[in-house]
Symmetry: C2
Amino acid sequence: MSDSGDITAAVLIIGDEILSGRTKDRNIGTIAAHLDAIGIRLCEVRIVPDDVSEIVAAVNALRVRYTYLFTTGGIGPTHDDLTADSIGAAFGVPVDIDPRAVAMMQPVYAARNIALTPARLRMARVPEGAELIPNGVTAAPGFSIGNVFVLAGVPDIMESMLQAATERLRTGAKINSVSIVLRQPEGEIADLFAAHQAAYPDVAMGSYPSFTADGYRTELVLRSPDGARLESARETLVRLLAEREFL
Amino acid sequence: MSDSGDITAAVLIIGDEILSGRTKDRNIGTIAAHLDAIGIRLCEVRIVPDDVSEIVAAVNALRVRYTYLFTTGGIGPTHDDLTADSIGAAFGVPVDIDPRAVAMMQPVYAARNIALTPARLRMARVPEGAELIPNGVTAAPGFSIGNVFVLAGVPDIMESMLQAATERLRTGAKINSVSIVLRQPEGEIADLFAAHQAAYPDVAMGSYPSFTADGYRTELVLRSPDGARLESARETLVRLLAEREFL
């Protein structure tokens, strides 16, 4: 369903391997772009280690502050997978093997000739009251409880779960954005751009500099849920830049 | 200097463009790997928007909890660059143009025929009492105040500043790590691995599954500052895995 109010989210990445630098996170960018596309405003991201008390503290800080919280990581079969227990602790509910999760895993594991050992059944443990999130890759599901969506850390599996979870989300007005690329360093246009932001306080404006083989590149990005205001702000900015021969 | 105590750090990424998914962060992985290499334990990462009150709250939460805090982003010349003012607010000190920063910028800008406009001089504004961090790419410096190191968001510039800042850091015992790669799914070794972790509680152990063109891949990573304990844990694990014909 679609909603005109501001719908917000946070992401919590759980994993020592990201903090040690051994693994580069690829999930933040995927989730950020997906939420942007469905009109949910991502307001905060945190990365914490595989530690129950750290996970519980972050979950409880973030779930009360935003419409949704998405977590990734820590739902595999090994002893360092602590997310289900941490979410249970955060909500104050027990965590146990869920027969619905076992039923999702059984046929897929049987077809692949993989035994459902006690270790693998750890992946069927979910907090009481959780809804399962299907996993189109390896079957062991994620889950949601309250406004918290618990996804895998492996990027392919995370994406599968994120797509599956999306139908349960209230989505917002798509935030439109336009960008204008200049060949000047951003210092040249900073005054003009600040004055333009002041004239359109309801349109979010950012300036993103980079260096390319061709020299300076400055991308000015304007964002607003109101398409007409955005177009007015864009047109005016293009005119102001052209008058100063920046375009 | 080197230190035997546990030296900890947090990273704060400042930028709407990361949260909107428009730009993929590349700094977290770089900083994480660098800190790991110099024996500083990265414990937490947060990403917040270009908003003074959000930045101040995160800076004050993180700087009291960890030995060091590194921020990236928000120190350019445009109106959406709010980091210097936010750090000043977090420390309760005024922010003004620093003649030392202007002196760093002047010759480089002159050589490149770029005027030091009022907008560009915004990049010379630092909180009172801050030390400057040289920028080997575009001259406009970062700065440190207390235990907080304020770096640029553009990856090349961030790396230049991170290298320059490193000589001011207390560094710790290098955390050694070894890894063992298996061709079984991690569910196969979960029980053995959990028992091994219980036998070596002082060695951190993680299991990282992935799918490759050749099938399952499970990487077991063992980490410890104590090289002898790490080698003992590795040897024993290799023997246990070989006994079960996993290696």
